[in-house]
């Protein structure tokens, strides 16, 4: 437990230290500042901008980044991003645009005369800051990032100020007029061949055919031409092309209402949440909020009619990057949301093409989110922006460290993470941006008859595709939420089930024919239909508004509809469904009732795909293969190093008189100087050292005189022989330590216990017995051979070593608490002996037996069975039969199964088992077939003894074998044991029943507190005690006498 506690403490320390030492992000402090700028067409309007400057935290000069907020926000909404960016080593400036937050002035929609001039002066301000790195005098290294309204100012500023070095506009517009008055249809009068399939949703086909809107468009078109001409030659194409489309565009009234609404943020959360407290409004404030009156007026006009006026278009174009984007020289990362019905992906596409036309680097990312809500990718977007700035603001050095931003990245649904069950996003990339037409086009055949649809009077009820701003909240992720088509208002054209998955990336196009009168306002959407059981999915909740003018008298018109740009995967078996409806909740539709017939002009739906988009190879995380390999290596190391000797507990033994020295000796350092204590360990050292050879030699010389057998010799002889041997060994081995230790052992053995001394004293005067006693002791000292085989030193020879059934030397085992269970035990058992192991409870008998079986590791000393050292699972244990501390059977099996399975577990041949003999001893009769759990204690005992005798082992160790047996069985057991030993086998029996031992055993070993007290033939011990008590020779008396518990 101590080790566990130590481990826990260590781990806790490591954890706390790591926590404290772990580098935390540097602290960033913002400095609030009012910066006064002058703007207006005549540069005469003073505006106080509320700004916060975040200097780079580590000092020095750093590139600067301007962070622009979205519509309805203020500098506060950019604070978190600013801090994060500053921590990465930028000087960051956030500001509330004019008309927002605490800044003064009025909203001019990112007009070049107002907001752009403001930002230019902020760049001037940055150029004067000592923290900002300069490219040239007055030209700071600066980037601009922002979303929506803030994205547009980034584009506009970069176009008007060449000092800007990199921009990351997000979810912003290219053409505000197109965003509010979109028209996805390219019409051509029936029979016309001039139709093209431009992806901007604008071609020249609206030309000079004299449409009703044409006259309205003309003046503005002219004005716009002039305006665009100043912007550059390439700006004219989209400008004029878009002009006509916008003039006939369908008013995106809900978004426009939110956009121009007073004090309303585009941020979904603030839209639904609490608005900022504001004082009572004046009439002008209530009407126009903080907008410039000119803008306010135009908006009110437009919103009332639902039609774009030339003035409105001119004004919105003024604030549209697409007109000036070809002047941008700063590398641009355009991030656009896939779920954005306000500024759909086509806006980023238009911006990208305009910027790229000037040869400027542009990258696009279509992320999972947008104005319709949901931005679970904020971190990814931040990382992409940071990477972009690192590359284009920090320069070459860190550019290599920064992750590259691909030219085109699309966020796709990667299913659910198997562990977290959270949605995961994939980010496949392409090296170049293919545009909304894709790299390839798959044609899907749609079919459906001509269908009648009506425009309901008043335009209600309207179909629902997306509820602006909160569509993402309603529908959750993955699709555009609730999409409902009103019956009677929609025409449906469907494909056959797909045979292969289709990954749509871009804007599909389809040609429809509309019959009816006048101007048809319709909405086209492309559904993903799984089966009848599930509602069809409208990818991203996007819808393409179309306005088709049916020429007078023609009766019908064909239009090429550019469906919303999305990235969507149609699975196998799914169908594509084109739906054309007359209403949509988000748009202004005519109030006049009308009927149209809609059919497919061409059955082909052109679905763009991008084959170059490939998911970045995520691969398998490194730990997936590294961890199991490491674990296997660790496991192998654990097993390989696990073969070392077990740790000894002896070091913890308190240094008391007897044992302290023995531990000192154990180190092997002090053999000769130790005066006291056991020699056991010295012996062990000698035996395991280089000595056996020498011993074999020398004992060979004495061999002829050896007397084999277990018979007890005369006391005197034995003593003499033992003495001889002691001397002899000492002399022949020339081992001083051994001799010294042997002598000491004699002295200590006699003087060890006072009661023992007393015993010796009382025995004095009886010369023979005293000598016997000494002889016994001496015999023990001489190597644990008490039996009077005077030259049994020969038994140590290699050849005959196996003949000694059991030889214990210096055996020591400590309990967990350090107390010695067995303390320097040495004795020896010869063939044919029935040895009784006597001792009071806790004397260490069972522990010794467990060590014989290899169950417990001795701390010191060793046990040899037939010359082989006992280790756990030593093969020689197969010659040992044991019954220790009660039977151990599988209670659910019968007695016979137990015995047979046990034998099978030894892996030895069945014929060697001698089941019959063993079971005869068990004498269980029919009970043998019963489950062991039904047995009585005596029956289990007998069965266990039978199990121990299976295979007739050469050495049988029985612990309290007669427990639970009745007197006849005890007697029988006694005979069995005697008979067993008579065949040359050896039996060791521990018992409390002294009378039993007396009758059954030939030899006795007496133990107390782990130590050997006495050993020798039973007759010898009895002989010594006879006279002492004056009674008949009883082992009980001798025993009590020996353990010092005399009655």
């Amino acid at each position: 437990m101590k080790r566990v506690a130590a481990l826990v403490v260590a781990l806790a320390l490591i954890g706390v230290t790591t926590w404290l030492v772990w580098p935390s992000a540097p602290e960033v402090r913002g400095q609030d500042q009012q910066i006064t700028v002058v703007d207006g067409p005549a540069d005469d309007q003073r505006v106080e901008l509320d700004t916060t400057f975040f200097p780079p935290p580590d000092g020095g000069k750093a590139p600067a980044v301007l962070l622009a907020h979205g519509f309805g926000g203020s500098k506060q909404s950019m604070r978190d991003q600013a801090v994060r960016l500053a921590q990465q080593g930028y000087a960051v400036l956030t500001w509330s645009a004019r008309g927002f937050g605490r800044s003064t002035g009025q909203i001019a929609l990112n007009s070049p005369d107002y907001e752009v001039k403001d930002v230019k002066q902020l760049i001037d301000w940055l150029a004067k800051r000592p923290e900002v790195q300069l490219d040239a005098s007055g030209d700071p290294r600066v980037g601009i990032a922002g979303g929506s309204y803030g994205g547009a100012i980034a584009l506009m500023t970069a176009a008007h100020d060449q000092r800007v070095d990199a921009i990351v506009p997000q979810i912003t517009w290219s053409d505000l007029a197109d965003a509010l008055f979109p028209n996805a249809a390219t019409t051509a009068t029936t029979g016309s061949t001039g139709t093209t399939t431009g992806t901007t949703g604008a071609t020249s086909a609206t030309g000079a055919t004299g449409q009703p809107t044409g006259s309205a468009a003309d003046p503005s078109s002219g004005g716009q031409e002039a305006d665009a001409a100043t912007g550059g030659a390439t700006g004219t194409a989209p400008s004029t092309a878009g002009q006509a489309a916008v003039a006939s565009g369908v008013f995106k009234r809900m978004w426009a209402g939110i956009f121009f609404g007073q004090g309303v943020s585009l941020d979904t959360m603030s839209l639904l949440g609490r608005r900022e407290a504001a004082g009572p409004l004046t009439a002008e404030q209530a009407r126009c909020g903080r907008f410039l009156p000119a803008i306010c007026d135009i908006y009110q006009q437009v919103a009332k009619d639902g039609r774009a006026t030339p003035e409105a278009i001119a004004l919105l174009r003024e604030s549209s990057p697409v007109t000036v984007a070809n002047r941008i020289k700063a590398p641009t990362l355009l991030i656009q949301g896939q779920r954005d019905s306000l500024f759909p992906l086509s806006h980023a596409d238009a911006n990208a093409r305009a910027i790229a036309s000037a040869g400027t680097t542009v990258s696009l990312a279509w992320f999972d989110g947008g104005h319709d809500g949901g931005n679970g990718e904020a971190d990814w977007l931040f990382d992409q922006s940071a990477a972009w700035f690192a590359r284009y603001l920090k320069g070459e050095g860190s550019a290599e460290a920064a992750p590259p931003v691909s030219a085109f990245t699309v966020t796709r649904d990667g299913g659910r993470d198997p562990g977290t069950r959270q949605r995961v996003r994939l980010h496949p990339e392409a090296g170049s941006y293919p545009g909304l037409a894709g790299t390839d086009v798959t044609s899907v055949e749609l079919s459906g008859p001509e269908q009648n649809i009506v425009n309901p009077p008043g335009g209600a009820p309207a179909s629902i595709s997306t509820v602006p701003g909160i569509g993402g909240l309603l529908g959750g992720q993955g699709n555009g939420g609730v999409a409902i088509d009103m019956p009677g208002q929609s025409a449906t054209f469907e494909s056959r089930p797909l045979t292969a998955p289709l990954q749509l990336t871009g804007s599909p196009t389809v040609k429809v024919k509309v019959s009816g009168k006048g101007e048809a306002t319709l909405f086209a959407k492309l559904y993903d239909v799984a089966d009848d059981a599930q509602l069809p999915t409208l990818p991203a909740g996007l819808v393409a508004p179309i306005r088709v003018t049916i020429p007078e008298g023609a009766g019908s018109a064909e239009a090429t509809v550019t469906l919303p740009a999305v990235d969507h995967r149609f699975a196998v078996g799914h169908r594509l469904r084109l739906v054309v409806t007359t209403t949509d909740m988000g748009f202004a539709t005519p109030a006049e009732p009308a009927t149209y017939q809609v059919s497919l002009a061409s059955p082909t739906l052109a679905v763009p795909t991008v084959s170059t988009l490939a998911a970045a190879p995520t691969g398998v995380a490194w730990w997936v293969w590294a961890m199991p390999l490491a674990a296997v290596v660790i496991a192998a190391a654990l097993l390989a190093t696990g073969r070392t000797a077990p740790r000894s507990r002896l070091r913890t033994i308190p240094a008391t008189a007897g044992t302290g020295v023995s531990s000192a000796e154990k180190t092997g350092a002090d053999l000769t100087t130790s005066v006291n204590g056991s020699t056991v360990t010295a012996d062990a050292h000698a035996d395991t050292g280089a000595e056996p050879e020498a011993r074999a030699e020398t004992s060979a010389g004495t061999e002829p005189g050896a007397v084999a057998g277990a018979a007890a010799g005369a006391g005197a002889d034995e003593g003499a022989a033992s003495d001889d041997r002691t001397d002899g060994i000492t002399a022949r081995n020339g081992h001083a330590g051994r001799a010294a230790a042997a002598e000491e052992q004699v002295t200590t053995a006699e003087g060890r216990v006072t009661t023992a001394e007393g015993r010796v004293t009382t025995a004095e005067g009886r010369a023979t017995t005293a000598e016997d006693r000494v002889a016994v002791v001496a015999g023990r000292v001489g190597g644990g051979s008490p039996s009077g085989e005077s030259d049994s030193g020969g038994g140590r020879r290699e050849g005959d070593g196996s003949e000694v059934p059991l030889e214990i030397s210096g055996l020591t085992k400590a309990y967990r608490n350090g107390e010695l269970a067995v303390d320097g035990l040495s004795f020896r058992v010869e063939r044919g002996q029935v040895l009784g192991l006597l001792g009071p409870n806790g004397a260490g008998k069972t522990t010794t037996m467990r060590m014989m079986m290899g169950l417990i590791h001795p701390d010191a000393g060793e046990i040899r069975i037939f010359g082989e050292r006992v280790t756990p699972g030593a093969p020689v244990l197969s010659r040992l039969g044991s019954f220790v501390e009660g039977p151990g059977f599988l209670p659910h099996l019968s007695g016979r199964d137990n015995i047979e399975l046990y034998w099978a577990a030894t892996g030895r041949p069945r014929a060697d088992a001698h089941f019959d003999e063993a079971l005869e001893i068990a004498n269980l009769g029919k009970a043998l077939e019963r489950a062991v759990r039904t047995y009585s204690q005596g029956m289990r005992q007998r069965l266990a003894i039978a199990q121990a005798m299976l295979g007739l082992p050469d050495l049988l160790v029985l612990d309290e074998p007669t427990n639970g047996l009745d007197p006849p069985q005890i007697r029988e057991m006694r005979e069995v044991l005697k008979r067993y030993a008579r065949d040359g086998r050896t039996v060791i029996v521990s018992s409390h029943m002294l009378a039993e031992v007396e009758q059954a055993c030939s030899h006795v070993v007496v133990m107390q507190r782990g130590r050997l007290i006495s050993t020798g033939p039973v007759s010898l011990l009895l002989g010594s005690a006879t006279v002492a008590n004056g009674h008949g020779p009883r082992l009980e008396d001798v025993f009590l006498d020996l353990i010092g518990d005399k009655t």
Partner: protein, 282 residues
């Protein structure tokens, strides 16, 4: 002659013997009876209960699809049992194996037979894993049989998306599910086995393993732990559902297998190392 005639360490405790020793136990038989009976109990429960009538989004949960086909039913049976019942079964077989011998005192006689300690553990581990594998396999297989008899052999309807996939295509996937369930239970097995070598109480070993399993499941719910949770042994337990998705996704299962094998290898190694030096006092 230092060994008894016919004794060879590598012939001790043959697998056959250990299998027989364990098989006749009530615990073993009871667990298998439970695992084999459970699918039938579920079938009866589904037959008695009100039949789901409506179709739609709500009907795409695993439990609602259970009566669609035999494979759907087997998936359901596996999903409800994998998180706990199978854990208990595996913990039982692996946690009980050594501890119960110690409890019966028969361990010391096996060791003194002598069965070398490493070999004893090896044989016992193999047999315990074999029983565990049988348990993990027999439940879904029986569920497949019961479900097919009760609900017919039809194409499987995938939970979540509701797509219908041909039954024959899904059969190998089902094999993957079972194989992954086996691998993911390795942690429990190794943990129970380790505790088994440390205690004399069989139920202590089983309970200990299941307890730690529960702790891991609780920790897994703490989202604040972030990516650390991926290395919890229980984290990838349900990754097998990816095998039933229309497009087979290996990533989760590979991670889960990696984590599982890592823990199992180390725990088993620790078990062997400890047991080698243990003083067997039971």
């Amino acid at each position: 002659m230092t060994t008894a005639t016919g004794y060879a360490p590598n012939r001790t405790l043959p697998l056959r013997v250990e299998i027989v020793r364990q098989f006749k136990r009530r615990r073993t038989l009871g667990m298998f009876a439970l695992l084999l009976a459970l699918p039938w109990v579920l079938v009866i429960a589904f037959q008695i209960g009100p039949q789901p009538s409506g179709q739609g989004q709500a009907a795409l949960r695993v439990s609602d699809l259970a009566t669609q086909s035999g494979l759907n039913f087997a998936t359901f049976a596996l999903s409800v049992s994998a998180s706990f019942l199978l854990v208990v079964a595996v913990a039982l077989f692996c946690g009980d194996t050594v501890a119960s011998e110690a409890n019966w005192s028969s361990l010391r006689y096996l060791l003194a037979a002598p069965v070398p300690r490493d070999r004893l553990l090896r044989q016992k581990l193999i047999v315990a894993l074999g029983y565990s594998a049988t348990a993990v396999i027999c439940l879904p297989v029986m569920a497949l049989v019961a479900g097919t008899l009760a609900f017919g052999w039809k194409d499987i309807q995938v939970p979540g998306t509701g797509e219908v996939l041909p039954a024959l295509d899904m059969l190998p996937r089902f094999g993957i599910v079972i194989a992954y369930a086996l691998v993911s239970q390795l942690v429990v097995a190794a943990l129970a086995f380790l505790i088994s070598t440390m205690t004399d109480s069989p139920l202590g070993a089983v309970g200990g393993a299941v307890g730690l399993w529960i702790v891991s499941t609780i920790l897994q719910a703490v989202e604040a732990l972030g990516v650390v949770r991926e290395f919890l042994p229980t984290f990838w337990n349900n990754a097998w559902t990816d095998a039933l998705a229309p497009e087979l996704d290996w990533s989760g299962m590979i991670k889960g297998a990696s984590v599982s094998i890592t823990y199992a290898a180390i725990l088993v190694a620790v078990a062997f190392r400890r047991f080698r030096h243990k003083d067997v006092t039971s």
